[in-house]
């Protein structure tokens, strides 16, 4: 009898999950469908279909270069932001309550500033320290923007960490660094993974900071924004669809590989 009742929330939750998936996927499916539209603007009804947008995008050297450049920036940003974010979170977690509040507010600062203002202030800032614009400045700008997300993710997990774990390691004679890498870091795993996903997404999506801090090599969002300026064409949808398919494939492949290596 009890099993029967406890199944009800389970079914409800499953329905909730799929309803949420619909919410996420239906609008995107519409955008993907538009990429086959044979006209210069997207709109319903779709009418005649064509593959010309795909062939145009796949032959577009600028698009492919922008993709690679975007990935390179995202990788560098994610690495830097994760290291620094976790480090800051460790510091905040161990500060006295008076300090932790101030440090936490400081750490979150860049997340709250609207993009345009953050971009302007970064641009003014890098001229005052005499740093040239370009890839380095872009990575720096993206990292500053992404750090708060890592800090928040790591910090909340740190706060729920059982205190005896590290003590136990220290009692066994591990020094602080070893204790951090062997105990704290593995415990932080899921939070760090989440934070890294945020870093990549924030970097890949960023337009305005990239424009202000470099920009002679377009990243993917710069290219897309520039194209939208001339009207929302199915070409843009074709670009987005390709990006989605490739990332989904990479994700599935990575998941498959991890599962296989685990089962061995």
């Amino acid at each position: 009898m009890r099993a029967y009742f406890s199944d009800i929330p389970r079914t409800l939750l499953a329905m909730g999950y799929w309803a949420f998936m619909l919410y996420l996927l239906v609008p995107l499916t519409l955008m993907m469908a538009m990429s086959f539209k044979d006209a210069n603007f997207i709109a319903f009804p779709i009418g005649d279909l064509t593959l010309r947008w795909y062939s145009q995008v796949l032959h577009d050297k600028q698009f492919l270069e922008a993709c690679l450049y975007t990935i390179a920036i995202a990788v560098a940003t994610t690495f830097a932001a994760t290291v620094i974010g976790v480090w800051i979170a460790m510091l905040i977690a161990q500060s006295g309550s008076r300090w932790s509040g101030i440090l936490f507010a400081l750490a979150c600062l860049p997340a709250v500033v609207p993009g345009m203002i953050s971009a302007i202030s970064l641009r003014v800032f890098i001229s005052t320290i005499d740093m040239p614009t370009g890839t380095g400045a872009i990575v720096l700008g993206h990292t500053v923007h992404a750090v708060p997300f890592v800090v928040v993710m790591a910090l909340t997990r740190l706060r729920s960490m059982p205190p005896n774990l590290v003590d136990a390691a220290r009692d066994l004679g591990a020094d602080s660094i070893v204790a951090f890498f062997r105990v704290t870091l593995p415990y932080l795993g899921p939070a760090i993974a989440g934070g890294m996903i945020f870093c990549v997404l924030l970097s890949v999506d960023d337009f305005v900071r990239t424009f202000f801090l470099g920009g002679y090599r377009p990243t993917l969002p710069m290219l897309i924004f520039a194209k939208v300026q001339g009207g929302m064409s199915p070409e843009i949808n074709a670009m987005a669809t390709l990006v989605l398919i490739v990332t989904a494939a990479v994700g599935l492949y990575a998941e498959y590989m991890t599962r296989r290596s685990r089962s061995r």
Binding site: F5, M31, A93, Q94, M116, S176, F207, V208, L220, T247
Partner: protein
């Protein structure tokens, strides 16, 4: 040098040096490590320096630095500075905010809207995160999570336009409703508070999902089973076990969503109507507008910053946990 000798002596005496798995012990016992990091963590000051130096530098330089530039501009009477004219400072830019209700209202609106969006996102996303973390079979779990992640790679602008294609007068939803005969003229759904909320949550729900997932994931399953064996119903189990144990996820998810919502400007504003003008749009009006009002815009940005961070801080203080020993 004394500390190195001490370390060497300890090594030779086979003193308190622990045994680790081979790779780690190779690093920890290497001379380089002993001379540098090993020596650093041996003393309290060294540990503190190691922990605090890089974060403090980063925060001081790169979090405060740019905002300091903005703050400086916000007190200027004019910007860019003219050659040969000394900068003069004023508080007038801040006074503008408090003297005119047309600037005050959008800030209130932004706060109400962001808080409401955060609450709705939490309610919508929590069951989804719980389902993936606890109910989906473990070997399907990463696939279920992956499926949730995929839509976010399309980019903010594309996702905003996808909401437009769904909700427009000639969007998919209106076509569907007309085809099944529920309506004969389109319902204007786009450019309303509804479409703005729909789109905003669509854009940022991941910031709620991942923290919640990581928090719920670590709730031990046997706790829930034990509670069920003791006769606790689903609701009691949720209230007494799941909710308290996922507190840290709720805190970080809500902070991230709230802070993002409040600072977000460009694309979600494509979805709002004439009565949904938010504070970031007011601010960027000063930067974008035809006349040069950087100082006023900077002052307004700082006002928003302080009020948003205070709100998030109060929330974390109320709901958040306590510090523990980590190193």
């Amino acid at each position: 040098m004394a500390s190195i000798e001490a370390a060497q002596a300890e090594l030779e005496n086979g003193g308190p040096m622990p045994r680790y798995s081979t790779n780690i012990s190779r690093i920890v016992n290497s001379r380089l490590y002993q001379l540098t990091l090993g020596a650093a963590v041996a003393s309290r000051a060294g540990r503190l320096a190691l922990l605090a130096a890089v974060p403090l530098l980063w925060l001081a330089f790169l979090h405060i630095g740019p905002i300091y530039q903005m703050a400086k501009i916000s007190f200027l009477t004019s910007y860019p500075l003219q050659h040969g004219r000394p900068a003069s400072y004023t508080l007038a830019n801040y006074a503008i905010f408090f003297s005119e209700s047309i600037y005050f209202m959008p800030l209130i609106r932004s706060f109400v809207f962001s808080l409401a969006s955060t609450a709705i996102t939490l309610i919508v996303v929590f069951p989804v995160a719980y389902y993936v973390a606890k109910i989906v079979r473990p070997d399907w779990r990463s696939k279920a999570l992956l499926l949730l992640l995929v839509p976010f790679w399309a980019g903010e602008l594309i996702r905003t336009f996808s909401v437009i294609m769904l909700l427009a007068n000639r969007g998919a939803l209106n076509f569907l409703l007309r085809d099944i005969g529920l309506i004969d003229r389109p319902i204007p759904m786009l450019y309303t508070s509804f479409s703005l909320g729909f789109g905003l949550i669509y854009l940022i729900c991941l910031y709620m999902l991942l923290p919640l997932y990581s928090a719920i994931d670590k709730i031990p399953k046997h706790l829930l089973d034990a509670a069920a064996d003791l006769g606790a119903g689903p609701f009691t189990r949720f209230r007494r076990i799941v909710l308290p144990l996922s507190r840290d996820g709720i805190v970080s998810g809500c902070s991230l969503v709230f802070l993002t919502c409040i600072g977000v400007f460009a694309t979600p504003m494509l979805l709002g109507g004439p009565t949904n003008v938010m504070f970031p749009e007011t601010i960027s009006g000063f930067f974008h507008g035809a006349s040069d009002k950087w100082p006023v815009g900077a002052a307004f940005a700082l006002i928003m910053l302080v009020s948003a961070l205070t709100t998030a801080g109060i929330f974390m203080r109320l709901v958040g946990g306590k510090a523990t020993k980590l190193m």
